[in-house]
């Protein structure tokens, strides 16, 4: 019964209270659950991790921590934007 669901979370404590059936935690800024602008690979990675969680979670309420960092995401985002700017210019 029910439709399988999975959520990304940037607020682990809020997710622990709300107890969605499956979640992946990212240490990102609010409003940036899928990363930073133009970082397609990171945006895709978060979605892929969510899909993987649909297949692998065995207990409701589980939250899987992803090995990501906001500082690194921003750094990579800046590099991507610099590349895009030089290619466009």
């Amino acid at each position: 019964m029910g439709i399988p669901s999975v959520s990304p979370s940037v607020a682990r404590d809020v997710t622990e209270h709300a107890k969605p059936p499956r979640a992946v935690f990212l240490p990102f800024m609010m409003g940036h659950h899928f990363g930073v602008p133009f970082h397609k690979q990171l945006q895709r990675r978060v979605l892929m991790e969510m899909l993987a969680e649909l297949e692998s979670a065995t207990e409701s309420g589980s939250i899987r921590d992803l090995d990501l960092s906001w500082a690194q995401a921003r750094r990579e985002g800046k590099e991507i934007e610099a590349r895009l700017a030089s290619a466009g210019g």
Binding site: M1, V6, A11, D13, H17, F25, M29, H32, L47, L54
Partner: protein
């Protein structure tokens, strides 16, 4: 489940639930019961996927979300999953949108989902994604109305997977 202080350094804004609940008593949800885990019934590559979002993303020209109402907005919008991002806009006041203003995919990854569908990672995208705003002072009514309305729409659409993203 691991307690929240198992990774205190990792959450960018630690103790968010407590901070918000101190300011707006009773507005933050706490569930005691776990929802039974619904199992995937088929491979991902055969699944129809819907994206649900509290981001306040909506098609340009649709009635904008009521960001002024002190209790909240209990309505949702259907966002066609084939919408060009240029046809979408955000109406909400309670989360930082500086990333989304430059690339909507940081909060509403509609283009990445279309790529995953085109590559066959997932079978199909539901014709509609479902969006609403996160600000609300009546979580009980949200559950009774908005959440039920969206859940019924997903059942009617025969969705296999719901990706449910807060903002």
């Amino acid at each position: 489940m691991a307690p929240s202080d198992s990774s205190p350094s990792k959450q960018l804004r630690p103790g968010l639930w407590q901070v918000v609940n101190d300011r707006y008593p009773g507005s933050m949800i706490t569930k005691e019961d776990l929802v039974p885990l619904a199992a995937l019934k088929k491979p991902l590559s055969e699944c129809r996927v819907a994206f649900l979002s509290t981001s306040g993303v909506q098609p340009k020209g649709s009635l904008r979300f009521d960001t002024a109402h002190p209790v909240g907005d209990f309505t949702f919008r259907r966002v066609p999953s084939e919408s060009p991002v240029e046809d979408l806009e955000i109406h909400q006041l309670k989360y930082p949108t500086f990333g989304a203003e430059r690339d909507l995919n940081v909060i509403f990854p509609i283009e990445r989902l279309r790529e995953l569908r085109d590559e066959g990672v997932i079978g199909a995208l539901n014709k509609s994604f479902y969006t609403f705003i996160g600000y609300n002072m009546d979580p009980e009514r949200v559950e009774r109305t908005l959440a039920r309305d969206v859940a019924e729409a997903l059942v009617e659409d025969q969705v296999d997977i719901a990706l449910a993203a807060p903002a």
